[in-house]
Symmetry: C2
Subunit: 222 residues, 2 copies
């Protein structure tokens, strides 16, 4: 069976887990403590980051974008991008929005400071960074709400990798109880729709030792 | 004619200019002073970043990855990725390596500090950042040299988006004269091969007011 090297609170790893679930592909999950910088893992991905997908025949795909595009090409059904190039470009624009912009402005400042920093041995969380993350997440929730009000799903009429990427990041922040859901009802309704998909269920069952999620985290009717 | 909103020393804009050149697609270049945050430009790309491609019919594609994948789908010949999914994944891994890792560890610290910071009104360049960028570029040059020694081009046997992305970033740093070319002969030879392609020529003719490139910048036999 294929192996996905991942971390429970890595948003990009969660994205690939949802993609695998949507495409009904099984994978053995292997937690990689990237802060250990194991030589065997660095040989799989010199960037030292998760996710990394290893196929049965040893084919190794590193980096979330490379993996999601690879899975889309290898297993095109169900499609997670629309068929037209402009529609696909809108999906990819939003994927980058969440994997780069949301990650830098929210995920890194909240999950990064509160959880990853501890594992990486980089000291105490910065309260300034956390304040910035909490302020930024409101702006991003409003953007999600704005998109969800105008479209069936974030990138257009079909459920896509854009929804998966956004929800993967939010789910990590939600595990810490840091998403101000009351702020934007449209964003909340959109997230509830993603959260109720069977592909999302394994993420809601995640439990990190010593770090309990809030009660609403696994509640589909939060 | 299509329009590319760009900046001369934006590596991701340069990448799209090379892709357009390789595919022999004409585009009107429009410099966008992103630090002005013009509402008309933010309507094209809410992230406020270049490059943004606008087609004749008004179709707007924002973000370098979305644009390069879009151009590859719309104009598949000449191909800038190999046909097999695993080979394409290796191209995409390296594209992300340079657009994310090299950008954060080198481009942002050198071009960002020395040039963009001034325009953005964010004060003087940080000498600490510049020192870090100069230290990091050596490691990246060695990685490029390592790949170039083992493969015809960075991602494998064919010239690809990986070579274009790496060269686009290096060309920005080279405009400042900050690439220690003597360090790695394989990396230098690989860059000379990319630099001599006709698609690269317009970049070598770039001149930014008040900022002259070093003599070797446009020299194909540097």
């Amino acid at each position: 069976m294929r192996t996905l090297h991942h971390l429970a609170l890595s948003a990009k790893s969660r994205k690939i887990r949802i993609v695998l679930g949507e495409k009904r592909l099984e994978a053995h999950l292997k937690a990689e403590q990237i802060w250990d910088r194991r030589p065997e893992f660095l040989a799989l991905n010199p960037a030292g980051e998760v996710p990394v997908l290893v196929e049965d025949d040893g084919t190794t795909i590193a980096h979330a974008t490379a993996i999601s595009e690879y899975l889309e090409e290898m297993h095109p059904s169900p499609a997670l991008m629309p068929p037209d190039p402009a529609g696909r470009a809108e999906v990819r624009r939003l994927v980058s929005w969440f994997d780069e912009k949301f990650e830098a402005e929210v995920t890194d400042l909240l999950v990064g400071e509160k959880v990853m920093k501890r594992f990486l041995g980089r000291g105490e969380p910065s309260s300034e960074a956390i304040r910035a993350g909490m302020s930024n997440i409101s702006i991003h929730l409003d953007y999600i709400g704005w998109l969800a009000e105008r479209r069936s799903w974030l990138a257009g009429e079909v459920f896509s990798l854009a929804d998966i990427t956004a929800a993967a990041h939010l789910s990590c922040v939600d595990y810490l109880g840091d998403v101000p859901w009351d702020r934007n009802p449209e964003a909340r309704t959109w997230y509830a729709r993603v959260k109720s998909r069977p592909s999302f269920r394994p993420l809601l069952a995640d439990h990190i030792t010593g770090l309990q999620p809030p009660k609403h985290y696994a509640d589909l009717d939060f």
